[in-house]
């Protein structure tokens, strides 16, 4: 039983990180219908910013977190403006390929600048784990869960109630109509990328606290997993990303504990396939049908 609860907690820990990253995928997909393959590499950028500011430059933790967020946002906005915006009216596969290109560019440039060797990340919080009977919950796990929940609530409130949030929903419903209603579509899309990347910056920080190895290709795996989480929950739907992320994290850690470490990826993909076959638009998604 202890193993089960420990795995559940581990799963929640990584699941909430996936969920945070998945939010970036889902928001961008919701608004421009683009699978932003470069999103995982934004995590990598955030991680390098964190380690450089914290270790090499000796900044304080809050300041280096802020730096990671800002750098991620700047990268996100630049990528959107330079690479994706000109392709908005082209076939969707063109922007998909461009996203793949951007992802490759970021990884390989990082490889050139930082080298292939992975860098460690120091332990920031030397705080005793919280204990419940046999259970140990590390401080980082608690922090991750609390921060993630807070950010998701904040985001959901922002999108549902604020003026900018309404504009985002309008653009995602119908780009052209939103334009006619006087919404500044370009700024709205940029804002979406900025929010997604800010969350990725925070996600990166939480990720390297859990897995303290920073390398140019480190973003691919959490990126892919988070993307699957977004699809699982229903891509384009914010609560769906959270649900998908948590499910994926828990499923992954349970498989590792009870079935096989090697097969955990296969199980993750298997869950994705089963869900898509029975709920083609994801767990929270609504299937739409083309009107004849």
């Amino acid at each position: 039983m202890t193993l089960f609860f420990n795995q559940l907690i581990n799963g929640l820990h990584v699941g909430f990180i996936y969920a945070l990253i998945a939010l970036g995928y889902t928001m961008v997909y919701g608004i421009v219908k683009l699978i932003n393959f470069a999103h995982g590499d934004i995590i990598m950028i955030g991680a390098y910013t964190a380690v450089i500011t914290l270790v090499s430059l000796g900044w304080s933790t809050p300041l280096s977190l802020l730096a990671a967020i800002v750098v991620c946002v700047v990268f996100g906005i630049t990528i959107e403006r330079v690479a994706y915006k000109p392709l908005r009216s082209s076939p969707r596969i063109s922007s998909l390929i461009t996203a793949i290109g951007v992802s490759m560019l970021l990884q390989n440039t990082a490889l050139l600048v930082f080298g292939a060797a992975s860098r460690p990340f120091p332990t920031i919080f030397n705080i005793e784990p919280v204990r419940f009977a046999d259970l140990q919950i590390s401080f980082v796990t608690l922090l991750t869960i609390v921060v993630s929940i807070a950010l998701m609530v904040l985001l959901q409130t922002f999108v549902k109630t604020s003026k900018a949030g309404k504009a985002m929903r309008a653009v995602s419903e119908d780009y052209n109509t939103a334009l006619l209603m006087g919404i500044n579509v370009n700024n709205t899309i940029t804002l979406t990328f900025a929010i997604g990347c800010a969350l990725a910056g925070i996600g990166a920080y939480l990720y390297i606290m859990a897995y303290p190895a920073i390398s140019p290709t480190m973003g691919s795996l959490p990126g892919l997993k988070a993307f699957i989480a977004a699809v699982l929950g229903g891509i384009g739907i914010i609560p769906g990303a959270m649900l998908g992320g948590i499910l994926l994290g828990v499923a992954e850690s349970m498989t590792k504990a009870y079935i096989s470490t090697q097969l955990s990826d296969a199980v993750v993909y298997g869950i994705l396939i089963v869900v898509l076959l029975f709920k083609p638009a994801g767990l929270l998604g609504k299937a739409t049908r083309e009107k004849v």
Binding site: I228, Y269, L276, V292
Partner: protein, 621 residues
């Protein structure tokens, strides 16, 4: 010697010349081992990209797991030559072809097994699910014993060593094998693309709903395209295994699939020659940039982004370098040599059969409810042969719903539909189309990037018999049927005075002609019942007048009953013999135009008030 024969000889020469040049360069040592090995990689990549182009380009579905099929083919074929066939004492020369084909077949089998569930999804979701399957294939291979697990399969017989003691000779044999297999596969994809099966696949890309409504079994064709692509990828995998002698499942992951997809997109989706050029450039470019090893991938990815920004449709778009025309000429040339002159076989006689005096289509209490909402109920419609019947009603009355019920787009929840005396409810759209109901759509659904003639030919699909294999081989049956439908399709266009537009791309025709072409396509599947959904929408008065003549012409020339949804009262009153009026999903009136015009219930439905309504409808008429 005519022009075409010359052109094909030229192309055949080009391929042979290319082959001989490489062989000579290899034997003189200009192309050293390193370079000729890259050349083999280029050829294998070409097989991968041209086959991926079948799903992505022709079928228009994004697949992200193509490398998985390559892995299946590679491992199957390697295990066969290394373990099974070697134990049986087969020589490598014999076991290689067997293992390649086996690799292709096993990959095709997996393609089919994966395709059956996956192809229910579309677009991004299909992309994701194929990604998932591709990764599962990789993980499973990594965890199996026979595949060598995570360490991989090593010491697979190398083609470049196995054929002769002399390494050079063996390398040349390897090149010859890979080269001609590649040529064969490319030619097959070309000819398949031009057959009725290829047209069916492309029509799904253009407009899946219209394809289904014209009688194309879309699910089966999606599966066919997917399976064929997997088959060729499997063969490529087999060749790869025997080129490198080492298989490592990690090499066939998501990134590999993406790499192939990138090449297809850069070459131009739907362009086979584009894929060939892109494969060549993108495989050899990194090798050329090897001096700049560190910057190689940076430059590669920058090129990719820049290419997409400035030429998003890829190098060649959907255009084709003209290998195809030469292929056709080639077979005509050979037909002449072997005196195998194919006869023109008319695939069918236009049906002017008798169904006089009996209803061709009847519905009994037909209805459907969505949740609690009854969108249509108690619909009783009866169409006699050669009748023009109108179906009118205010917006949202359920007119298009009735069409969707008749064509199987919606499955009725109550009542039944009887076509030519046989019940058809529960049948799928394409089966209903083949049984004799065709339709046009409220918003035109043509296969926009196909020519007008090809649009018609898609509808002739179910009237031809030849198999995908004879399409690939372009044998006598295929040629005679194709020639037959070419004549029939042109005849049909001539009836509508559109013979000069035969080769025009459908999407670039003027609006009125697009409407006409859609009607023409609906007639091509030789229906007994033609459903026209607002054919006059968006037309000006003179175009509407022309449409009226067209509809009358159809009635006179084809033995078909026409059911017409229309808001243009002048048109409806002018040509319909009977009219059904629909409101709130129910038929509220039925009769001759003059009866309908003065029916108080109809007037109330349209205008709400009786007094003003009377004059209003009269003015319309």
């Amino acid at each position: 010697m005519n022009k075409k024969t010359k052109a094909i000889l030229l192309n055949l020469f080009a391929v042979i010349f290319l082959f001989l040049t490489v062989v000579i360069l290899m034997s003189t040592g200009v192309l050293n081992n390193y370079l000729s090995n890259i050349l083999i990689t280029v050829l294998i990549t070409i097989i991968m990209t041209t086959s991926l182009n079948v799903t992505t380009g022709l079928l228009g579905q994004l697949a992200l797991g193509h490398a998985g099929f390559m892995a299946i083919g590679g491992y199957t074929s390697a295990i066969l030559t290394k373990i099974v066939l070697a134990d049986l004492g087969f020589s490598f020369g014999l076991s290689l072809p067997i293992s390649l084909i086996a690799g292709g077949l096993v990959a095709a089998l997996f393609g089919m097994l994966i395709g059956i569930p996956a192809l229910r999804l579309e677009g991004d979701y299909l992309a994701i699910i194929t990604l998932g399957f591709g990764e599962i294939i990789r993980v499973v291979i990594e965890n199996m014993e026979i595949t060598g697990g995570a360490a991989g399969l090593t010491r697979i017989t190398r083609m470049s060593r196995a054929f002769s003691e002399d390494r050079l000779t063996s390398s040349i044999v390897q090149f010859a094998i890979v080269f001609w297999i590649t040529v064969l596969i490319i030619a097959s994809i070309f000819t398949l693309g031009r057959s009725r099966h290829g047209r069916a696949i492309i029509s799904i890309r253009e407009n899946a709903i219209a394809a289904e409504a014209t009688g194309i079994p879309t699910t089966r064709y999606k599966l066919l395209a997917f399976t064929i692509a997997a088959f060729f990828a499997g063969i490529a995998g087999g060749l790869f295994a025997h080129q490198t002698s080492i298989l490592d499942a990690k090499a066939f992951g998501f990134n590999k699939s993406i790499e192939y997809l990138v090449m297809v997109v850069l070459g131009g989706m739907g362009s086979i020659t584009g894929s060939i050029i892109a494969s060549f450039v993108l495989v050899s470019l990194p090798e050329m940039l090897r001096g700049l090893a560190e910057y190689r991938l940076v430059i590669y990815s920058l090129l990719l982004i820049i290419m997409m920004l400035f030429r998003p449709s890829g190098l060649l778009g959907t255009a084709e370098f003209s290998l195809l025309t030469t292929w056709e000429a080639l077979e005509r040339f050979f037909a002449r040599i072997f005196k195998r002159e194919a006869v023109t076989r008319m695939p069918f006689q236009p049906r002017y059969d008798v169904w006089e005096g009996k209803p061709v289509l009847e519905t009994h209490n037909l209805g459907i409810s969505f949740g609690g909402l009854k969108a249509a109920q108690n619909i009783n419609i009866r169409l006699m042969n050669n009748e023009i019947v109108g179906l009118i009603g205010p917006n949202g009355a359920g007119k298009t719903t009735v069409f969707n019920l008749l064509t199987g787009v919606y499955i009725p929840t109550e009542g039944d539909v009887v076509l030519l005396g046989k019940p058809i409810q529960g049948k799928i759209t394409h089966e209903i189309a083949q049984n004799g109901i065709s339709r046009t759509f409220q918003n035109i659904r043509l296969f926009r990037s196909m020519s007008a003639l090809d649009n018609i030919k898609v509808a002739f699909h179910s009237r031809m018999k030849y198999s995908p294999m004879s399409g690939i081989l372009r044998n006598a049956q295929c040629l005679s049927e194709e020639r037959g439908i070419d004549i029939r399709a042109r005849e049909l266009l001539r009836v509508f005075q559109m013979e000069n537009d035969a080769d025009t791309i459908a999407g670039s025709l003027p609006y009125g002609k697009q409407r006409k072409l859609e009607i023409c396509r609906a007639l091509a599947s030789n229906p007994k019942v033609l459903l026209l959904d607002e054919p006059a929408a968006g037309m000006n008065p003179s175009e509407t007048a022309e449409l009226m003549n067209t509809i009358k012409l159809i009635r006179d020339q084809f033995s078909v009953a026409i059911l017409l949804i229309e808001h243009d009262m002048k048109l409806v009153m002018g040509i319909c013999e009977r009219i059904y009026v629909l409101n709130y999903g129910q038929i509220i009136a039925h009769g001759k135009p003059e009866e309908i015009r003065s029916n108080p219930e109809v007037i109330a439905a349209y205008l709400g008030q009786e007094q003003t309504a009377q004059t209003e409808v009269n003015q319309h008429a």
